[in-house]
């Protein structure tokens, strides 16, 4: 115990210097701005800032980069709630109930709960990292392709739970998403699939492209049809503090989300992405009245946001302890560390303890700064909403288009976003929900990749999925969840049919 205490005091002594505090603040601020601008992800910012970090001492550079990273998570939920525009894949879930709350004039509580939940999650995840980083990473390594596949399968079943309309259509949307996810080069063979000869599609369709088109653009078109003058019609939004009821409803969701996200973020295969989806499903399953979800249930914001942020923090673990970046942003940070002459891996904790613990301590500092920054900003965002819609939506379109273009410098991406906007519009008309599609899109290629890899590693032995305990557990859980969904649905359908006759 005293060991931890010593380490933490070392860490804080590093994190709390004026210089590092400054860099943490810069990082958090930049990150929030980047997160709010739809489409521009942390990747572009970090790439741009990298040269500056060459000249900074290693710890300060990492602190700033880390601040940008989770600052972006905070910022991304802002646009999801306010204008149904997910800043990145993980914020999509927040669109579901967050935007609904905004339309009811409750954007303030939604944003506040999101910020506070994220703060709690960030702090708890940091504690987890401080205490358990090495053993957690060992645990994470137990996950092989077999377990990843079963996890994805579980995630897909959970995707169906996301829907609140027709079950059959939700399942079809998941499959459609799976199909769209397969566009591009196949990992195992290199073959280009479903690209129609368009070379630019060989890396697949970007998740931001789909998310923005399906959620953001279609919503704008819809709003224009409904002739809205203001996005929020009855904007009694002076209050941004959540009510006591809100707190009571959300605190358990925050706890559950934090736990879920903390665990999923450790997985080097990028579990952080699905942590928000998983949390939403969990909350919906556990809720007394699941039909509230999708219409402004605050748990649907509190849980996923906490899960998201917890996952973002714990995804530092594979980076710091194993030197494995779980996503592109972390890869950049890895590169930054190497430029500074630090070879990341298990040795970092031992050889450069002030680096390791300094970064961890600054995560607390960063989270605190973010919540202090974001809460007052809520008032500003709300005022932004009262700009007449006819002026607001072209601005939103502009940020989206530039954002999407800046991802890969491909005009095709922007055009594709428009195509998905059209598709999203059609889906809204046909009562098909886009969220299951997006989840299928994200999980599909991962599922296939891991399935094939698992079979390759086991030399074609399919029983391996049931032989390994973690995998078996998840498959059983999927089966159970499936039954839990189908049985009540079947019963409902039977009742409807009886009522007709």
């Amino acid at each position: 115990m005293t060991d931890i205490f010593n380490n933490l005091s070392l860490g804080f002594s590093v994190a709390l210097t004026m210089m590092n505090l400054f860099y943490a603040l810069v990082g958090a601020l930049l990150g929030t701005l980047i997160g709010v601008l739809p489409g521009i992800g942390p990747l572009a910012t970090i790439a741009m800032l990298l040269p500056f970090t060459f000249n900074l001492p290693a710890v300060s550079a990492l602190i700033m980069l880390a601040g940008i990273y989770y600052g972006a998570q905070y910022g991304g939920s802002t646009t999801s709630i306010l204008v149904n525009l997910p800043g990145e894949a993980a914020s999509v879930i927040t669109c579901l109930d967050g935007y609904a709350m905004a339309r009811q004039g409750r954007a303030g509580p939604a944003l506040a709960v999101s910020a506070l939940g994220s703060f709690f999650a960030g702090c708890s995840a940091t504690v987890l990292i401080a205490l358990f980083a090495p053993p957690l990473s060992e645990l994470a390594l137990q996950f092989s392709a077999v377990e990843y596949f079963s996890l994805m399968a579980l995630g897909l079943v959970a995707a169906v739970v996301l829907a609140h309309g027709s079950l059959l259509k939700a399942i079809a949307m998941v499959f459609l998403g799976l199909f769209l996810g397969l566009v591009g080069a196949d990992v195992n063979s290199g073959l280009l699939r479903f690209t129609f000869g368009i070379y630019e599609l060989s890396d697949g369709i970007g998740v931001v492209v789909i998310a923005m088109g399906l959620f953001g653009f279609s919503e704008i078109i819809n709003n224009l049809e409904r002739r809205e003058t203001r996005v929020v019609l009855h904007a009694k939004v002076q209050k941004w503090m959540p009510s006591r009821d809100d707190f009571r409803a959300s605190w358990k969701a925050v706890l559950r989300g934090t736990t879920l996200g903390s665990f999923l973020g450790i997985l080097p295969g990028g579990g952080a992405m699905i942590s928000s989806f998983a949390s939403y499903t969990l909350e919906k399953r556990l809720a007394v009245d699941p039909s509230r979800f999708g219409k402004g249930a605050i748990e649907g914001v509190a849980g996923p946001e906490s899960a998201n942020n917890a996952g973002a923090q714990t995804s530092f673990i594979p980076l710091l302890t194993l030197g494995i970046p779980p996503n592109a942003v972390m890869a950049l940070m890895l590169g930054a560390m190497m430029i500074q002459g630090i070879a990341p891996g298990p040795q970092v904790m031992v050889e450069r303890p002030e680096l390791f613990w300094g970064v961890i301590a600054s995560m607390w500092v960063g989270n605190l700064m973010l919540v202090v920054l974001n809460l007052p900003l809520i008032g500003i965002w709300i005022h932004l909403l009262s700009v007449p819609y006819r002026l607001l939506y072209p601005a939103i379109l502009m940020f989206c288009c530039i954002g999407v273009y800046s991802l890969n410098h491909m005009a095709l991406d922007v055009a594709l976003t428009a195509v998905f906007g059209l598709l999203g519009y059609v889906f809204i008309r046909l009562d098909c929900e886009p969220a299951p599609l997006l989840l299928g899109f994200i999980l599909g290629p991962l599922m296939e990749e891991n399935l094939r890899r698992a079979l390759l590693l086991s030399r074609g032995d399919p029983t391996v999925f049931f032989a390994r305990p973690i995998s078996l557990g998840m498959i059983l859980l999927s089966g159970l969840l499936l039954l839990l969904i189908i049985i009540p649905a079947a019963r409902r359908k039977r009742e409807e049919v009886y009522r007709k006759e």
Partner: protein, 149 residues
């Protein structure tokens, strides 16, 4: 004998899924299949396509006896203008640069609003152009082509 379509929403949704399912299966046939335990690139998509086709057929069939909602007729103006604006942006951004692409985007999409006011749009364009060049080009250093030349 005329078939009564009880749920137009389901009908078109079903047909849409059917279309994608058949497309998936059709294209996947050109990729090597492999076997169930050594899957080739065509295996998974074929199965997906198959499931999607089945689901599409089920939903289409269901539309014939289960009562669902009528589809609200699409309002063409906002749809075409917003999408058109974005397409225009994507065409113009590389050839003509940010300022021109933005002009097309703002101008065309603003037309979609019934509250369109010419002077406002000009002002909005100038503001957004300045903002975007400032933030994206100067501050973030993203290498765009800004001017049409």
């Amino acid at each position: 004998m005329p078939i009564k379509i009880r749920s137009p929403k389901d009908l078109y949704a079903g047909l849409l899924f059917l279309f994608f399912g058949v497309l998936a299966m059709g294209m996947a046939r050109n990729y090597p299949m492999g076997s169930a335990v050594r899957m080739g690139p065509g295996y998974f998509p074929s199965i997906l396509g198959g499931c999607l086709t089945v689901l599409g057929m089920a939903i289409t069939a269901r539309s014939l006896w289960l009562v669902g909602g009528k589809i609200k007729p699409p309002v063409m103006r906002p749809l075409l203008l917003v999408l058109g604006a974005v397409f225009a942006f994507s065409f113009l951004i590389e050839a003509q640069g940010l300022l021109m692409a933005l002009l097309a985007l703002i101008a065309v999409s603003s037309l979609a609003s019934w509250e369109f006011q010419f002077r406002e749009v000009i002002f909005l364009y100038l503001l957004l152009a300045a903002l975007s060049v400032g933030v994206f080009f100067y501050f973030l250093g993203l290498p765009f082509k800004v001017w049409p030349i």
